[in-house]
């Protein structure tokens, strides 16, 4: 930097992005990591109910891929379905940190009102559909979402995330195949993070590359370094544009690495600590993004530090606000099974107990 003259202009920003968008992506990726760190603290304080799933090392590709979507909050934008490690994608399309914390703490005012956990929640206005735990199932669902865009002549696009492990499911195959023959405007992000719980990718598939599978379905494919945010954005943007213009399905293989166990309760003894360390020290997506921003003159370290400080302050305030929220009313368990009111209460919970009533 010292050699450069003060008048030298910053390098051109790729993929049609501008400086504000670059900083916005920085805010989102930092928010993702910071929010998960706060959740980890809450987990250690036993304030998270159930499991905690970190996306450490994968925040960049989550944010950058979702950033390529047309994001709106009136139900007319693109639609995304995440996986457990796509907190960054959820935040990018408008999920709020307080909603995520409420979900993890099983609060009555969480988006799923205590009936579902972590980032398994839905908002059609903002354009995201919560995944379910049987992996692969959202690929057919998103085939149907995007089939409807086609049926109605809407220029909307769907994006669905699937892990290297879940590409082994029948649902993945059937969903992408159906979307392919129907030329649905769907982008399938295959996140190859090396692990499906404790199973390494080589035990998941004998294929050399997940892009080989795309050829089998007759869809476009791309492969990208998942810890290079701008590369991920570029690949996602190209696929989204292609889908929007009637070009059908694209499968993007995103190569990244899961630097934690499957969940907080997983001590991940099956992973090599040196390998984790290597990814942490030389291939962290946020470190790489910061270097890209500053070395190209697109952002100053001071600007980024200001963003960091604001995130930390806002998260602390938010958590303090969420913690007092009550858990749901127990009777809530009976609602929303089908239309037309709650299901019957067990007769022995009635007062007085009466077996002819339930």
């Amino acid at each position: 930097m010292a050699n450069r003259t003060p008048t030298k202009r910053a390098a051109a920003i790729p993929h049609g992005l501008d400086r504000e968008q670059l900083l916005d992506m920085y805010r989102l990726v930092r928010l993702t990591r910071a929010l998960e760190e706060k959740l980890e603290l809450l987990f250690k304080q036993s304030k998270v109910i159930g499991g905690l799933f970190r996306s450490l090392g994968q925040e960049g590709e989550s944010v950058a891929s979702a950033y390529a979507l047309r994001r709106r909050d009136d139900g007319t934008g693109d639609v995304l379905s995440p996986l457990i490690r796509n907190l960054g994608s959820m935040l990018t399309v408008g999920a709020r940190p307080d909603e995520v914390v409420r979900q993890y703490m099983a609060k009555g005012d969480s988006p799923a009102r205590g009936k579902e956990l972590n980032i398994h929640f839905t908002d059609y206005q903002r354009g995201f559909i919560g995944q379910i735990s049987p992996l692969g199932d959202l690929v057919p669902v998103m085939a149907g979402v995007t089939l409807t865009f086609k049926q109605r002549g809407e220029d909307r696009v769907g994006m669905v995330y699937i892990g290297d492990g879940a590409t082994s499911t029948g649902a993945f195959h059937e969903g992408i195949n159906l979307a392919a023959v129907q030329k649905c405007p769907l982008v399938v992000i295959v996140e190859n993070n090396g692990w499906a719980y404790s199973t390494p990718t080589r035990m998941q598939t004998a294929a050399k590359s997940f892009t080989d599978k795309a050829a089998g379905y007759g869809v476009a494919a791309d492969r990208v370094d998942g810890n290079d945010m701008l590369a991920v954005y570029g690949a996602a943007k190209a696929a989204v544009d292609r889908a929007r213009q009637g070009g059908g399905v694209t499968l993007i293989q995103v190569d990244t690495y899961r630097r934690k166990g499957h969940a907080q309760h997983d001590a991940h003894g099956y992973m090599d600590p040196a390998e984790i360390d290597r990814w942490a020290t030389s291939n962290d997506p946020i470190d790489r993004y910061v270097a890209t921003l500053t070395e190209n003159g697109w952002a100053q370290a001071k600007e980024l530090a200001t963003i960091d400080a604001r995130i930390d302050r806002e998260l602390d305030e938010m958590i303090a606000g969420v913690e007092p929220s009550p858990l749901p009313d127990a009777e809530e368990a009976r609602t929303d099974v089908v239309s037309g009111g709650p299901v019957a209460a067990p007769w022995y919970r009635l007062s007085p107990p009466d077996p002819t009533k339930a």
């Binding site: 839905t122 919560g130 979402v145 409807t148 049926q151 969903g175 159906l178």
Partner: protein
Amino acid sequence: MATATRSKPEHVSLTTQRKPVTLLEAIREGLWEEMERDPSVFLMGEDIGAYGGAFKVTEGMLDAFGSLRVVDTPISEIGFTGAAAGAAHMGMRPVVEMQFIDFIACAYDMITNYVATSRYRGSGAVPMVIRGPSGGYVRGGPFHSQNPEAAFFHTPGLKIVYPATAYDAKGLIKAAIRDDDPVLFFEHKWLYRRPQLREVLPEEDYVVPIGKARTHREGTDLTIVTYAALVHKSAEAAEVLEKEDGLSVEIIDLRTLLPLDDEAIVASVKKTNRLLIVHEDTRTGGIAGEIAMRVSEKAFEWLDAPIQRVTAIDAPIPYSPPLEDYFLPQTDDIVKAARWLANY
């Protein structure tokens, strides 16, 4: 989206010509009318387009409504059932055809884990219908004759409909399509084209409410609770019992299996004091057990005899005629069981 512009083909306007229709034709007319009424209704399934479906339920629909609303799918029950859910999320009302209802097992995960839980999980209503030919008595063998209702009967979040008459079939398919919950709609293939079931249907639009049983035959000595094909075999049995034994048999046709119409069942049991449950599905874990238990909870003191059931035997459904005949409940089985119950 395309709607039918030409006048209706003859095969879906029998009712307006005041001609009697079969159960299959009633379903086809119901589907057609709902497609015309609501542009968000569309069909998905294997070979439902140019071929018109394995049983021709959707014959002519591709020409009338186009390939965006009559979607031929790859062989992929998980795929198109999940896609239907996705479309329903976006405001559509998909109707999925299982070519044979036996293949619904392939989509069991999608239906039970995804579709049935969607409303509860906060992902909203899934107004979709899964319909298909079910049942035996047609020598279809193990994979074209099953009655898999019990597997889904146990799944909160679903509705299950299984009509026995042409009138009900049309009214219930319309109700199922208009319902905001996922509905499994079973169509008994032995009833599809039975000439005896032909009826002239009302010309005006009508629905049969989901969740309401129907008294197929009034009686005072004993109640048979049943559905689908066995409504008709039970009616044959009731004729025999009336002629030969002077017995007055009441038949309750459930029409909807989930939710069960407890009120209608219990009211009939309180009237006749004897209950025989008849279904074509296998015995263990079949819905007869649940019905018996509910009557035991709600009307034990009105019973003059132990509740009995006539069902298929606990085996896969076989192919060869003597085997299938032995496996499935027959009219004579119902006569014998009812007679035993009446004499208790």
